[in-house]
Amino acid sequence: MTEKLSVVGKRVPRWRAHDKATGTAKFLADTKLPGMLEGKILFSPHAHAKILKIDTSKAEKLPGVEAVITWEDVPNKLFNPNKLDLILVHPELEFKDTYVLSEKARFVGDRIAAVAAVDAATAQEALELIEVEYEVLPAVFDPMEAMKPGAPKLHDFAENNISVHFDFPVAWGDAEAGFQEADIVVEETFRTAKNHICQFEPCTCMADFGADGRLRIWSPSQHAFLHRRKIAEIFDMPEGMIQWITPHVGGAFGKYGSLSIEPVCVALAKKAGRPIKLELSREEDLFATEPRQRYVSTGKIGLKKDGTITALQEKIIVDGGAYYTHNFSTTAVNMGGFLGLYRCPNVAAEATCVYSNVHPTGGVRGYGNHEGTCMLEQLVDKAADKLGMDPLDLRLKNAKKAGDPSSTGIPMETCSFEEMIKLGAEKIGWKEKRARKKEDGPKRYGIGIGIAMDVSGAQPFNIQHRNAFIKFNEDGSVNLLLNAADLGQNIIGAMAQIAAETLGLNYEDIHVVTGDTDSTLYDIGQHASGGCYQIGNAVINAAEKAKKQLLERAAKKLEAAPEDLEVREGHVYVISDPEKTISVGDVSREAMYNFEGEHLNISGQGSFSPVQNPPPLSAVFTEVEVDIETGEVKVLKILYVADPGRAINPATVEGQLEGAIAQSLGYVLTEEYVSNRETGALESDNLNTYKVPSTLDMPETEVVLYEEPVPSGPFGAKGIAQGAMIAVTPSIANAIYDAVGVFVTDMPATAERILEGLK
């Protein structure tokens, strides 16, 4: 792309940054509706129990209590809180196993009843007055135990607690033959970490049935339209009778890819006939909303002596928890990452999804690819060790190039892994640091690498459909209407930049309308890093249509042909004679207030359904210090080389990568989601025990944007946010391996585990 860009590529302030800096941005917890009641949920104290009797009469009599609901008050309808069954091309591996409130508790934190009262304290008091008679059932907390005959059974349909066993649906080659052909085979079993999103705003929802009979839901969903349809199905309502409003979102990272407390909130609003706000505490958010799946996964890699990979295979036990949610979809993505990162002619994978009485899991940043790629990247380093090769050279040997299929199987328009790896290696001094003496008293030093490719959406596995609408105001500014949740990734600001660039306007001229299903067009929502690439293309499409109208009107005024005009910074110019100009505002206003007729509100509707799915690429280099006496790992430096295609706003792209570095540090070193082995209750129950990294944990970081615009992307952009942890995590694990030879198979790599590995 040779054209000069005036808005795209600039470090402009993110959308609503001013409101967030001044404290005026309203999150749901900051909002009240007139006549609103506050809700509280009664969560099961037992990991596995049947409700024999539930007496709510005392709670109902407490002054201030307006409604109490149990399983008997909610629709007798199973659903899957994961939205993907609505858009998956093959939804047969998705299961519905969840009720709004259940008659049977399957984990400590399962939803038993809910109360609406005049304030939260009264609602809390009422919860304590609900008398539940449980028949406590034997529980099982480990997937291996859960699969054994005679283990306590969670769901009637799942024999041996196995919801599904499936093979990677799009495997290629012959894995067994590939391993026969190999000179060496490396095989390891990993237990990945079940870490929690711990987004900073605790999960909150409001719901209200209006006098017009319509249901309004305020919830920070990543998928307003899909979740609206889910609610419509659960409560047997037409979609159009529901308005879903997405407010500011205090972090998401996949959290709101599932329905969470919305169904309970709606059920309370229905029973009470009043607006309800339901707000979880941090403790409740940690135990009652979805962390990452734990995979117990055996990965196998076969290679020739020269380092050529001949086969890859993965056998996964999915420790998915008490409900199915994202078990299939994250695991399929895990396989795609594991099998699809490198050139390899023979691959196979299979997975067994297992229920047990632990906290159900969901989609978390990286969505399976994070764990699959991490295991693969660690195996590659072990293989390099065995072959006596530099792990960097082994990667270069097998790295994919443009034209190769990405991990989704679609041929890549661009792919410069080789250049990115070499650039990073040069910058960090890879060769010298791998070769140096690695000791200083009890301290050992190491350097590691990880590479990854992610996605720009879920093409071709899901329907991916986006829309945007642009309408001009009288002054030449525009409203850009779209339904994209700004989760912190700055999707809205990036879309405004794309609109401004396409229309020839300034960034400040774009006023975005978003977060309301009534006033925006359909959009599948924020997942799989698809927003920038896909919605960006829809925005360009809308802007081009509106611009065509604009130029046709301007052409008449300027007595020129539309194709001889251009728009720059809010003015239309005759290209050959820039003295002849008119402001966009004058054209727009004239189109509305034309007393001779031919009225028009200049506008355009744009749509996009992708064919391509260009993967953002990452190459990450990490240096660590490991104390062999204490087992403590200190990350010293992380260098992140990323190819986002084109960085629409480099500052916010860097922000995604820097944030992911912190999240990976937490995943590898500090964040341990621990349940009690006897009771199944969560022990890491607040931020003092669930340790999210602070400034003090952060190493020196450097981010390099290796921008290679992709032809199918909006101004060349790909997705970046979701995939940003994927290469960081294995680079840390590989640096530990380089430093002390401890091959980390169980995450997080706590000091105890490092010491154990050193024995």
């Binding site: 941090r282 912190g488 922000g655 820097e658 607040n686 931020l687």
Partner: protein, 160 residues
């Protein structure tokens, strides 16, 4: 629970509020004075998102009783800017790209303000140290530290 009228001075304005002895400062600000810029992310004094200044010192408003700060000078995020005129820290957070979801931002800015008042020319490591009690889940802190360093520079040159 026994209620009593107590007087508070928040962002240079006097308020009289009917309080209970167990009311926290964050509850006072958010629920009774409508100052919802101060956030609650953990409710247990672990994350710093509820930080406000009391007599210039940063305190965790979720773990401080309202009754204990009667008649003291309370400053929260809404008191930092004057109409359209932002504090240097707020400007710097916007310009450096230090805000993502924005939920930790008010607490982060208030902690930074107190820190810069005690140490107007901090090193990068001192800023890291000073913000160690404020958790951010989104940014990885790099641009937050950039912003605080930038604001320190502006303030030391006489900016507001």
């Amino acid at each position: 629970m026994k209620k009593e009228i107590a007087s508070f001075k928040v962002n240079d304005r006097a308020h009289e509020v009917l309080i209970t002895p167990n009311m926290t400062l964050s509850e006072l600000l958010r629920e009774h004075l409508g100052l919802t810029g101060t956030k609650n992310a953990c409710g247990a004094g672990e994350c710093g998102s509820c930080t406000v200044l009391v007599d210039g010192k940063p305190i965790l408003s979720c773990s401080t009783l309202a009754i204990a700060v009667q008649d003291k000078e309370i400053l929260c995020i809404e008191g930092l800017s004057r109409g359209p005129e932002l504090h240097s820290l707020q400007e710097a957070f916007i310009d450096a790209g230090a805000i993502q979801c924005g939920f930790c931002t008010p607490g982060m800015i208030m902690t930074a303000k107190a820190m810069l008042e005690g140490n107007p020319n901090p090193t990068r490591d001192q800023v890291k140290e000073g913000l160690g009690g404020n958790i951010c889940r989104c940014t990885g802190y790099v641009k937050i530290i950039d912003a605080v360093m930038g604001a320190a520079d502006t303030l030391s040159k006489g900016g507001k």
